[in-house]
Assembly symmetry: C2
Homo-oligomer: 373 residues x 2
Amino acid sequence: AEPFDPTTHSHRRFNPLTNEHVLVSPHRSKRPWLGQIEAPQPVDLPAYDPKCYLCPGNARASGEKNGQYQNTSVFVNDYAAVLPPPGPIAPAAPHPLLTTQPMQGACDVIIFHHRHDLTLPRLTLEELGKVIEEWIRVYKMRGAQDGIKYVQIFENKGSIMGCSNPHPHGQSWSLSEIPTIPATELQSLKRYANNPDVAPSDAPRGLNGRPCMLCEYANFEVQDQGRVVVQNEHWVALVPWWATWPFEILLLPHHRHIPSLVELTEDEKVSFASIISRITIRYDNLFSCSFAYSMGIHQRPIPLKDGDSGANADDDVAHLHLHFFPPLLRSASVRKFLVGFELMAEAQRDISPEQAAERLRACSEVHYMNSAA
Amino acid sequence: AEPFDPTTHSHRRFNPLTNEHVLVSPHRSKRPWLGQIEAPQPVDLPAYDPKCYLCPGNARASGEKNGQYQNTSVFVNDYAAVLPPPGPIAPAAPHPLLTTQPMQGACDVIIFHHRHDLTLPRLTLEELGKVIEEWIRVYKMRGAQDGIKYVQIFENKGSIMGCSNPHPHGQSWSLSEIPTIPATELQSLKRYANNPDVAPSDAPRGLNGRPCMLCEYANFEVQDQGRVVVQNEHWVALVPWWATWPFEILLLPHHRHIPSLVELTEDEKVSFASIISRITIRYDNLFSCSFAYSMGIHQRPIPLKDGDSGANADDDVAHLHLHFFPPLLRSASVRKFLVGFELMAEAQRDISPEQAAERLRACSEVHYMNSAA
Ligand SMILES: O=P(O)(O)O[C@H]1O[C@H](CO)[C@@H](O)[C@H](O)[C@H]1O
Ligand SMILES: O=P(O)(O)O[C@H]1O[C@H](CO)[C@@H](O)[C@H](O)[C@H]1O
């Protein structure tokens, strides 16, 4: 029989963070695309747009005016998905299969830069450093509030990812419960941490010397190199073995166990800004467009409280990591749709993670808009 | 304190099929939409399009020509995501965290009608009956093949749901493993079937008299009526308590336990065609457009084999049901994006399931294109 070739033969891979499989159909990328063509992202945006509710000095929906901020700015979302605790208690639902849980919290908008026309890949490393400081500040501030159990920082970039304003910004939703996906990831990490069968390796260990699945995985990938896109002293950006989105990236520290943004040293912040810049520039260069994605930061649900003695150390298994989920597949206008089969049965992808990593490795680290000049 | 109001206060609900939560933020539907506007679905399509690879008599990518079929037709997808078994065995992956499993099978295209310009809501009940017969035929045929453990029938309708050809059609992917989502649903149903604490109700019971979560749920909703869109003697279409998509519908039999399409009586098929027609017409009438969705049929993974004595009865917990996941939220051009927060943390919706059911109940059952005539 023909030997198995992961770039030709369909197979499935397992995601040990979410416990889901992904069906890989590498032979399928040859299929012609006759479907929806994505609109191009706007080019030639002005540095300041008088109609933009995120630009300095402009008024927002609430009537409030933005300050004449420089670099970053943070404000409460005028259309927050959750409102501050405490809220009314939900009554018992009318049947045991129906359950309601109150959910409170806060939604913040984190503006990355005062200029309307920039994006993360077009910021300087110093400016990216300010974005990182803002993430840390919001995570600490919200995570210290009464009733907040989880802070999710994320960015939707590009109108095809539901972003309604090109002004560079992300969000932070802070909640009174740990949401489904991070709860699942934390459970997987905990199972691994408590698994005595894990063979010892030279990977960094988690808190109290317990095995950390993500430290182990990062360590393996740095040795293997097959899925690594870029790396530096502290960080590795790779297309995970179980990637669902065509050019998905997992970005995480590989040299030591780091539960959250709060624990980053100054050196680690500098190299963090650098690797964010390098991967987002490669993304833009892949199809010479402003590359759309959703990005999210997974870490310890909230920072340790002052004087926390580590009583919950058993649950303290998080290793800081960022997911980038970009939808484009073949060009600036042809995306992968995760629809019928994917919504009803299982995630499916058309190029292998190794092929995607190779494509991203081949991209330049000089942004195409600068190299044209 | 203010009493809890599910149409005002944010809360989360639990989906007992997938074990995921959804965050409900009903107050958020007031937010203005400044983002991407969806292109309108094509109108005035010709009844026959010489360039369409699904129209009768036309050539497909493989070079093969479609027959001069009437009503339905089925052929193997020219760009199948999986290929027939047996395939080569995947070698062991280089690290315990990396796992590969071979996946084989077949992908079929199921054409719903010979006319290029029709859709399910515009077929007669007799024509819909032929689509149902075709689903049954494919499910039986593929499910009987060696190495096939699961048959997933689905439809992507509309270019915004990744459908690349408006000619009315669905697909069927048959696989050598049970995919992630149905495997999770079956596990939830099995847990419920084996739960001695389930209080007896007047709902139908599953095989061997065991509790069936979906029979129980359908029975409750028919009594409650709060989320029911339409129902008939055998079927109920409702916006589930845990709906993620704005106008999501769960369609299932409520009068008796039915594992799969194969067990439907002639009467049940007639009422099945009728309720599919009624809900898809209401969908089109909601925003006066061809309403996009992904639809999938969940049922017993494959039909019972001839002479099967029910040895696997313990796992035989499926109750036939269809999911409809439509993305439009406010109009023919404004959709809900399930992006950053939803991809990184938890599903989130902006109107309550009860509000969505009410909106759909208010729609006419005469298709807007016919009533205009
Ligand atoms: O097979 P089609 O219709 O060309 O493709 C569509 O449905 C498939 C199954 O849900 C998806 O994997 C594709 O991304 C989508 O474009
Ligand atoms: O808050 P925004 O940017 O207006 O909205 C966007 O991100 C949210 C969080 O992922 C989603 O719920 C919305 O569907 C999306 O359009």
